[in-house]
Symmetry: C3
Subunit: 322 residues, 3 copies
């Protein structure tokens, strides 16, 4: 299987073969995914929420790191495409018998798998796996360390497009732990690719990577300055382990300076929308009145996430005719 060595998720016709990262994903491929997802939003609102696009295909959810929430979204997406789904929590299994990740994966591939949805704590693990599987198997990155979580980034831009239509006039703010967030990284890549002219990152200096400006974003330490006149407020989940570490005094301390409250949101545009990848820490990164308020699109993000995963699976399998 010839894959572009600089971008091993595309085949020689420039079509999506794996989904590993939004970094380097061309705008037309990204738009193809968003357009396909649009049609799947319709399917999930039907009475019979099923299409036969992956009938007779075997999708393996290979989770080296536990994440019930993410696994569930891929499982339901695959089942609505009529695939057979196998869930594998590998931490509890073969690798404990001393087998390497590549042997485990080669073994599963030999079962005539069609698709691997991979989550792993190590950055780059899905790349390594994609490099070693045969041409009939498609790999989807469901989160690798701090690196990427591309379907999350795609559902975020899908949500933004749904409410704001045009990226070329948008001002987007991403708030919180930029340093450890694969969500932030995926969003920045996706928004830039789709032509968003102004992306701001907001957070305490300890949680902003020093080289972030190279991605073309603006850095704000002050929340209200950063939120001024933005169209999109993208909050990030603050990992508990960070709150206990030396990078941050406490969740309450973070909330005081960076929590999205009604009052903070008031400096954004009146029709600004608020995103959060979930699960939320209410009272840490976001106030309940905002999370449950009229500007919140947090639950629509979840719904759109199913459609995005259905779109990605159909496209890599070559079964999408848009």
């Amino acid at each position: 299987m010839w894959l572009d060595p600089r971008n091993p998720q595309l085949n020689k016709n420039g079509e999506l073969h794996h989904l590993l990262s939004l970094d380097g994903l061309p705008a037309d491929v990204m738009r193809q995914i968003l357009d396909a997802a649009e049609s799947f939003v319709g399917v999930t609102q039907r009475d019979v929420k099923k299409v036969p696009l992956l009938r007779g295909k075997s999708v393996f959810n290979i989770f080296f790191e536990n994440s019930t929430r993410t696994r569930t979204t891929f499982e339901i997406a695959a089942k609505r495409l009529s695939a057979d789904v196998i869930n594998l929590a590998i931490a509890q299994s073969s690798t404990s018998k001393g087998e390497s990740v590549l042997d485990t994966v080669a073994n599963l591939a030999a079962m005539q798998a069609d698709m691997f949805v991979v989550r792993h704590a190590a950055s780059g693990a899905p790349y390594l796996i994609a490099k070693h599987v045969g041409p009939d198997i498609h790999v989807i990155n469901a989160g690798d360390g701090r690196h990427q979580h591309p379907t999350q980034g795609l559902l975020d831009v899908f949500t933004i497009r749904h409410y704001k239509k045009d990226f070329t006039q948008l001002r987007v703010a991403i708030i919180g732990d930029i340093l450890h967030s694969r969500v932030a990284r995926s969003q920045i890549h996706a928004l830039t690719t789709l032509g968003c002219p102004e992306i701001r990152v907001i957070g305490p200096r300890t949680l902003i990577p020093s080289d972030i400006k190279s991605l073309g974003v603006q850095v704000y330490e002050d929340l209200r300055e950063g939120l001024k006149d933005v169209d999109v407020v993208s909050t990030l989940r603050l990992q508990n382990e960070r709150m206990k570490g030396s990078l941050l005094a406490s969740g309450q301390e973070f909330y005081k300076y960076y929590g999205i409250t009604d009052e903070a949101l008031a400096v954004a545009k009146p029709d600004a929308i608020v995103l959060h990848p979930g699960p939320m820490n209410r009272g840490v990164e976001i106030d309940s009145s905002v999370a449950d308020g009229t500007q919140s699109v947090i639950l629509p993000q979840v719904s759109f996430g199913i459609a995005i995963r259905m779109a990605v699976m159909s496209i890599v399998a070559g079964n999408w005719r848009g």
Copy 2:
């Protein structure tokens, strides 16, 4: 969605929308479930044990408390209705990330779920969830703390009706740990609703709630007195934790006074049937010769339990035309 505030499992037409409790479930709705289950007994005896009543529907088994046995019955029932089933053991997942139950459930609902089968250690949790989901989602209580386990109660009365036909002439004895048993509570509600004139509870004083007589039942401390001339002997599972506690000396001690042996059963009517919700502690609440004897209907209860769950799911989904 308008639901009767006094009985939030019924819609404005008095139809079953959620199944939360047998307490307050009208007799006609209860009979509708039993009649539907009758037809599903036929389906489960066919060669192809599948009907398309829930095709394209997504059923989420949300188990905040582990119970392989109960989860399996709902999973097999949903699959035989052709639903897509997602199993979620939530204790191991998001709530450990500090997310509230309602946020977890709102998130799953946003995945276009059609049905939540909920088990939770806290009484009332399924009510709380039912109150917060949208009108397209149906909640089925699969056991909440000591409170209710309505499908168990329904399969018990289904089994009794199957063997005894008419409730209005029956004498039923429930034996064991009435205090901690949601099974006992569900049975009493169901039997009373269906017109059973005489319900007896039998057990040591420490395991009988002091206010039980308000439910219209008779209390017996002596097993043989209580079993005299009954048509139905409903044994309860004795939780291990009770046996170790101060309420009860030991399993052997319990067996000596309240264990159902052939000799104890001899005082009931000759054609009395014996029920047990499982899993059994042989030699504690029941003797093996009774459990495996001709009067035992313990395994038929399990079979009927699948039919009952298929009936409840079809009815709440609005796909049952009886």
Copy 3:
């Protein structure tokens, strides 16, 4: 249900009813399974890898002992036959509530199961279960203690037949921990039944059962002597717990004397094939250059394993017309 008391896996017409052991499985039944599997290899290479042979049937994977790898092969095989599959990890469930294995199984049987795939740490557990289920339920042994792992033995001989065609001219060597290996035992039975004239076992004296010669095999302590001119090199997995025990100095020590390297393999026939049941300990029982080399058929074994399990399930269910 009449089953041959000397061989309780066959019904009165000599047809496969359960698959419990390769010991005593007649050659014609074994060949029927291999021939059926041949046709399923075709199915698994199709675009839609599904046939409706078990549609509407309920297959329960009852794993009293954890094995993600084996469970996955049965799960994918059953799903490709269109069965409904229920996975049960029983160690974590009812038996911890004090219920016996037979009560657990009777309970599952009452849910109108069609097939039980059973793995248990105790030798003979699948026999015991087969003896107690009704005539409509078929039991497949997925590994019982040190005793048998019949589908593994079948996939091994399927693989050998695939590459070598004729058993009657073959020389096969099995290397490693013969004493604790159910794989070795299953292979010896299958090869003998199919007419293989020369089977050698190779290993340190501490890992060879003293009565092994009664099975008609030859014993070698020296690897190179044993491998001389063989057609098939069947390596066994060395269990970690053995390496730590008194039977074996260490993994490195084992590798020095019994590890299959290119150099050791050179004394076998030039077209000899190398098998391993997985998961491999590279650098203990096998060198990576052999495992990944041109003579290795380790990954084809996995593929054929799915076809074998589809064959066994179809045949015991009575739905195979070969």
